[in-house]
Amino acid sequence: MLAALFDNPAAMIMLVGALVGIASTLVGTFLVLRGNSMLSDAIGHAIVFGIVIVWLATHQQSGPLQILGAALTGLLTVVLTELLVSTRRVKQDAAIGLVFPVLFSIGVLLLNLYARDVHIDTHTVLLGEIGFVWLDTVTLGEYRVPQALLSMGAMTLLNAAFVGVFFKELKLATFDEGLARALGLAPGLLFHGLLLLTSGTAVAAFDAVGAVLFVAFVIVPPATAYLLTDRLWLMFVYGMLVSILSSVSGYALAVAWDVSIGGMMAVMTGAFLLLAFLVGPRYGVIAQWLRRRGQRRLNEIRTLAVHLYNHEGSPEQHEENVTRALREHLLWDDAKARRVVARSREQALIERNGEALHLTPGGRELAREILEPGRRAADGQG
């Protein structure tokens, strides 16, 4: 059963893709919430340098030690960026954009120099080859398990353990860094730990998706989740869901169209983000538009109610409280006036009597509430 699974390339590819997404979501959620998303871009590029160095030193790429070594360059990027910012000569975004190209350039030049010794070519550096992950296997007991599955699985567990153990601390450090520091939680150290894990994930995911597509897996699923919920744990759930769905649908589409699998998976994360951006229940563009429209309509009805109430029983009532007067006094055009009157009648706030508009008791109550907000509370107490 298990052996059949491990021998099924499609399943392996989708599983690795989903694991890349899940492991990245675990760390990326905090990056997105802290406003440090672009650090993943810097880390993704800078580990190229680390991977080349580690390869030249050990002639291996996928051991735990190799992952740690290359991951340290990711952390180095972050530290160098912070160092630049601390001189107060360079803003944070500029510092990020200065440091990673340097490390990336050195990595590419080393690839140039030792091209014969290094098994990675510059093409793979950027794109990865998730389609081939099932070719590179190790024997584990009686199963032949893809190498990428092992390292991604290990990184996923490591990230999950870190987030699980330090969940409270990470949450506090993310949302109230000052309080976290005051309580002695060392938010800086915690955050560096998180970035080291991000680098490790980037290294482990490198063969599968390369340096740049990795950024999509780190940022897009958590950002999608952020558009859907306010709860941190739900953000993780949604982010992982998006990762799994992107991996499966991306694989299917890539096979159908004969295009890059990793690229298509990353495009699918973008598609889900677009979906959340448009139709998200609370923060989606359509939901926002509906809410604004509802608010606008409510305001129109309230304006009409107040207008009618103000002139109720006054000598000019017969010329003020008619649809026609709304054009001059509220600057509404006829169509709008008719719409508002129709909606108010639907809600039984006004009645029409020939030309004249009258407030119902409910409408009068609404107008009074607006004009004398304290009245009802006072009545309640009285």
Partner: protein, 383 residues
């Protein structure tokens, strides 16, 4: 060495590469200055990654590796990515950094998909599209150089014509709006012009390293200058110098990629500028700090001697070295020697008959006056 350099300079390919690199440095230095000052450093990174799908689309539409359509494609998708980023931040709760990352990675992924689609259709002339990832400076043709020169000329003319407007929008957008300037359009134009720089950079450094080309010359120039005029000029010069240096190094090394060498050259200038620029340089600041600390130490030792003298009601009270050390909790001999050289203290004989070391420190009249001056200025500050 010199002769080989000269023969290199006559090389047709190298001339093209150097001209291209110089043009890239020029346009990215000028436009990068505005981007960095407007805190949009990483937008260049996003737009350059987003140029990849445009390159592929241009290729597909033109049906071949036609430079013009590829550049237009890159320009369009780069601008679209900037627009996406803007819409995401305006219409959703996502912050700038997330929006930048999303636009960067998803557009790039789209580019990868299109790239593999082109490769899958086995188009014979598709060779070389990969090269836009890292640039392929060595393959620069004279025709490419002319296109780059044209784009650079357009960008520079726009900057020259709209100089006052761009300057105001960069430093005080609200004031610009109150003057009736079309701020939104000016900002959009400045942003879109970064896409022009990206297009020039595609051939030279590729989409990945373009970020540094936008940021580095501007950051380096900022260290040397406090005015926009000089900053933009300097950034352009630094960009050109870095570009040419990188191209030369690449030619001399035979086989090392030009793009990374250009980036490393420009970054080296940034490092030098951060360390050595007059006024803002980190080396000078460290030196100032060290001098200040030394002066303070001397003043402390001097006033200690003065205090001891006052307490003993003896203006030439002689203090032991060990006494002063323990007073300050650290060794003070260096500070005392410095004070001695300035003629403020003396390393005199101990009073006859007193036990202890035979030589002591005492204030000279000048030292007394200086200590009084220091104490008086301290009082003034305290008051």
């Amino acid at each position: 060495m010199m002769a080989s350099l000269l023969s290199l300079l006559n090389d047709y390919t190298l001339q093209n590469v150097m001209a291209g690199a110089a043009l890239l440095g020029l346009i990215s230095g000028v436009l990068g200055s505005f981007a960095v000052l407007r805190r949009q450093s990483l937008l260049g990174d996003t737009m350059s990654h987003a140029a990849l799908p445009g390159v592929c689309l241009g290729f597909i539409i033109a049906g071949g590796r036609h430079m013009g359509s590829i550049l237009v494609g890159a320009l369009v998708t780069g601008a679209l990515a900037a627009l996406t980023m803007l819409l995401l931040t305006r219409l959703s709760r996502l912050k700038t950094d997330a929006a930048l990352g999303i636009a960067l990675s998803v557009f790039f992924a789209l580019g990868v998909v299109l790239l593999t689609h082109i490769q899958g259709t086995h188009n014979a002339s598709q060779g070389g599209l990969d090269a836009f990832l890292f640039g392929q400076a060595a393959a620069t043709l004279r025709a490419d150089v002319w296109i780059m020169a044209g784009i650079t000329a357009i960008a520079l003319t726009l900057v020259a014509v709209l100089w006052k407007e761009f300057k105001l929008v960069t430093f005080d957008a609200e004031f610009a709006a109150s003057q009736g300037m079309p701020v939104v359009w000016l900002e959009a134009l400045l942003t879109m012009m970064v896409a022009l720089a990206v297009v020039v950079g595609l051939q030279m450094v590729g989409v990945v390293l373009m970020a540094a080309m936008i940021i580095a010359p501007a950051v380096a120039a900022r260290q040397w200058s406090r005015r926009l005029e000089s900053m933009v000029t300097l950034a352009a010069l630094i960009g050109v110098a870095g570009g040419v240096l990188g191209a030369l190094l690449s030619a001399l090394s035979r086989g090392l990629a030009t793009g990374p060498l250009i980036i490393l050259s420009v970054s080296a200038v940034v490092l030098l500028s951060l360390a050595l620029a007059p006024g803002r340089g980190l080396v000078w600041e460290a030196l100032r700090l060290w001098r200040g600390r030394r002066r303070l130490r001397q003043q402390q030792v001097l006033t200690t001697l003065y205090g001891l003298a006052a307490r003993h009601e003896d203006p030439v009270f002689r203090s032991e070295q060990g006494l002063i050390d323990s007073y300050h909790g650290l060794r003070t001999r260096t500070a005392l020697r410095k004070l001695e050289r300035r003629g403020l203290v003396e390393w005199g004989e101990a009073p006859p008959g007193e036990p202890g070391p035979s030589r002591r420190w005492l204030l000279t009249p000048a030292g007394r006056a200086e200590a009084e001056r220091v104490l008086a200025s301290l009082h003034e500050e305290g008051a």
